[in-house]
């Protein structure tokens, strides 16, 4: 499965368009890592626990999108976008969406 965030796959020709595919996940941030993050907050800078948590969530959202694309017979997803929105206090939704296509 090829993913790009531009309209085409460079070097390949798009044969068929399947339309929008998407994958999302909602994660609560207070996950036990909050205590460590609170300590780290004293000196500022990167909170590695949260970075990893969000990376895992984004990988999960992407894999759900890829699974959906595979189901409809696509072999690439173009124009992929990521968005993050907070749906509730302490929980955020990560959404990945794009256009499923068939390339040569």
């Amino acid at each position: 499965m090829i993913l790009t965030n531009i309209e085409t796959v460079p070097g390949r020709r798009v044969v068929q368009h399947f339309g929008l595919v998407q994958g999302s996940t909602i994660r609560a941030k207070h996950f036990g890592r909050d205590f460590a993050a609170g300590l780290k907050n004293i000196v500022g800078g990167e909170l590695k626990g949260y970075t990893e948590l969000l990376q895992e969530s984004r990988a999960e959202a992407t894999s759900r999108m890829v699974a959906q694309a595979r189901d409809i017979g696509a072999n690439a997803v173009v124009n992929v976008r990521f968005t993050t929105s907070s749906v509730a206090q302490g929980a955020s939704e990560i959404l990945a969406y794009g256009t499923a296509v068939l390339v040569e």
Binding site: T4, N5, G44, K48, Y50, R81, S86
Partner: protein, 155 residues
């Protein structure tokens, strides 16, 4: 009475001083580290446009992404409190977000270290939590993503 006073003033003061010295030294080291890694990736630029005049035909493309979550220390928060009174640029926060953005772009490049260029690079900023739920910034996430392309250099 005195114990309350010591606790009431002492703990915030200690936290602010830790932020001032430890936080500032971590930030300085991080900027040095960023500059060094940026120099290493000089030949592999990240573009915000979708099409470039590539010197060779593009052989393959894939998604590259990198992210970082940062938070402010107590000294920056304290300084910004004064800044909120008079207005103007909050430099202590500017440097933190600048650090986070450059780090995110570097992580994007490091996720596909052998790519020749990164097209359509997007930077997204999301607030994870605010300071006390009422004002200022607390924790933010910066995500950088783009399409990593490899040139066909055999020709």
């Amino acid at each position: 009475m005195t114990i309350e006073l010591i606790l009431g003033l002492g703990i915030p003061l200690v936290l602010i001083l830790i932020g001032k010295f430890v936080g500032a030294s971590i930030e300085r080291k991080h900027f040095e580290n960023i500059a060094e890694r940026e120099a290493r990736f000089q030949g592999q630029p990240a573009f915000s446009i979708k099409q470039i005049d590539a010197p060779y035909p593009i052989q393959s493309a894939s998604l590259a992404s990198g992210s970082v979550v940062v938070s402010v220390d107590h000294f920056k928060r304290f300084v910004s409190g004064f800044r909120m009174l008079v207005g103007g640029e909050v430099r202590s926060y500017t440097s933190l977000i600048d650090r986070a953005r450059r780090e995110a772009v570097l992580r994007m490049k490091e996720s596909q270290p052998d790519a020749d260029a990164y097209l359509n690079t997007r930077l997204e900023t999301a607030t994870i939590s605010s300071t006390n739920g009422n004002e200022g910034m607390g924790t933010i996430e910066v995500l950088a993503y783009g399409t990593a392309v490899h040139y066909d250099s055999r020709q």
